[in-house]
C-alpha cells in the first residue's frame, strides 16, 4: 500500500487515477479501430467511405464508455 499512498499524494485523488485508467483503455481500443480501418482501406480503397463512417461511429461508442468513467470520477 506504500506505493498507492505515494501515488495518491502525487496525483491528488483516487478518482482522477480511475479516470486516467479509463482513458488508457479508450486509447487502446480506439487505436485498434484506427489500425484495422487503415488496413481495410489499404485492402479495398473503394469502400473507404463506408469504412470511415464505421470507424467514426465505433470510436464514438468506445469514447462514450470511457466518458462514463470520467464523469463518475469528476463528480466525486
Amino acid at each position: 500500500m506504500e506505493l498507492l499512498t505515494v501515488l495518491l499524494e502525487i496525483t491528488g485523488s483516487i478518482g482522477v487515477l480511475g479516470a486516467g485508467l479509463a482513458v488508457f483503455g479508450a486509447g487502446l481500443g480506439i487505436g485498434k479501430i484506427g489500425s484495422s480501418a487503415a488496413e481495410s482501406i489499404a485492402r479495398q480503397p473503394e469502400a473507404s467511405g463506408d469504412i470511415r463512417t464505421a470507424m467514426i461511429i465505433t470510436a464514438a461508442l468506445i469514447e462514450g464508455a470511457a466518458l462514463f468513467a470520467i464523469v463518475t470520477a469528476l463528480i466525486t
Partner: protein, 401 residues
Amino acid sequence: MRQINNQILNWLKCLGVFLIIALAIPQFASAQPGHEGHNHPPGQHHNHNHGKKANKNANEKTLADYNDAHAAAESEGFNPTPTIMHHIADANEFHVYKNFSIPLPVILWDRMNGKFITGLSSQFKEGKDGYKLYHGAIVPMKGNSAKKAGINMSGVNLGKNTFWDFSITKNVFTIMLAALIMLFVFLTVAKKYKQRVGKAPKGIQSFFEPLITFVRDEIAVPNIGKAKADKFLPYLMTVFFFIWIINMLGLIPFFPGSANVTGNIAVTAILAIFTLLVVNLSGNVNYWKHIFWMPDVPVPVKIFLMPIELIGVLTKPFALMIRLFANITAGHIIVLSLVSLIFIFSNNGLSAGGGVGGAAIAVPFVLFISVIELLVAFLQAFIFTILSAVFIGAAVEEAHH
C-alpha cells in the same frame, strides 16, 4: 477555373486566420477571476466552520467551500478550479469583464411565500425580495428560508430548495438564440426552394443543400431505409443542426456565445428523452418482439435476454446523453485549464516574465485544442444523429428471415 479555386482558397485562408484569432485571443478576457466582485472583509477568511461540514447535505453547498477556495487562492497563487467551474456552469448573467456583466431576466417562484419574483439580474446584486445574485447565481438571502440553516456570510445562504428558478439563464438564452437562428435559416431556405423550382440553387440555399442531403443520404436513408426515412427526417435534422449550432455557439468566448449548453446534463437528458420517445413510440411489433421474446433462439436464452434487452432500451439513450455531455464539457475544461496555465505561471498577475512564458506555451495549445473542438462540435452532433437513426431503424425494421 483555376482563378475561382485560388479565390476560394484565399477566402478560406482569411476565414481560417480570422477564426483562430477570434477564438484564441478573447479566451484570456473571459477567464479573468472576478476578485473585485466579492466585497467581504479579509479577516473573515479564517472562520472555517469545520464542524458543519459533517452534516452537509448533497444539495447544499456550504460557504466553507467558497471560503476554502478563497483562502487557497490568496495563499498559494491562482487556484484554477473555481474559475473553471464558473465558466462551465450556468449563470444568471453573462460575465464579460471583472465587474461588468450583461444581465439577464430573472423569474423565480418563491415556494415559501407562494409568489413569482421577477426582475433583471442586475437588480439582484444587492438583494431584492429576499434573493441575491451571488457569484453569478441567484441564492436566497438570510431571512428567507427558515428551514435551511446554511452558513451565512454577507447575509447569504446557499440552500437552494426554497425556490424554483424559471429565469432566462445563459443556457436558456443560447437555446432560444439557436432556435431563432434555425428558424431564420431554414425558413429562408424553404422559401428559396419554392421560388426557384427547377433552377439551380443559389446563395444560402446552395450552402445548406449539401448539409441537408448529407443528413438524408448518409445518416437517415442507410439506417432507416428509403421508404420510411422521410417520416423521421424532421426530427433527425432538427437534432443535428440544433446540437451543432449550440456547440459552435459555446466555442465563441464572448456574448452571444460563451454558454456551455450541452455541458448542462439536463439539456442532453431532454435530447436523449426525445430520442427515447421517438424510437419507442414508433416501434412496430417486430421491434417489441425482439425485446421481449427474441425469435430464433432457445427458450432459456429468450428468458435470459429479456431483462437485458429491457435495460438496453434505457441505457442506449442514457449513453447518448453522457457522451454528448462529457465530450463538450471535457473540451471546455481543457481549454480553460490551458488558459489558467498563464495565470498560474504569472502567479496571478505578479510576475510579468512568467506571464509571457506561460502565454508562449499556452497559446499554441489553446489554438490546437480549439480547432479540435470545432471538429468535436460537428462530430458529436453527427454521432448523436446517426445513433438516433440506427435506433429508429431498428425500431421500424420489418422482420426478415
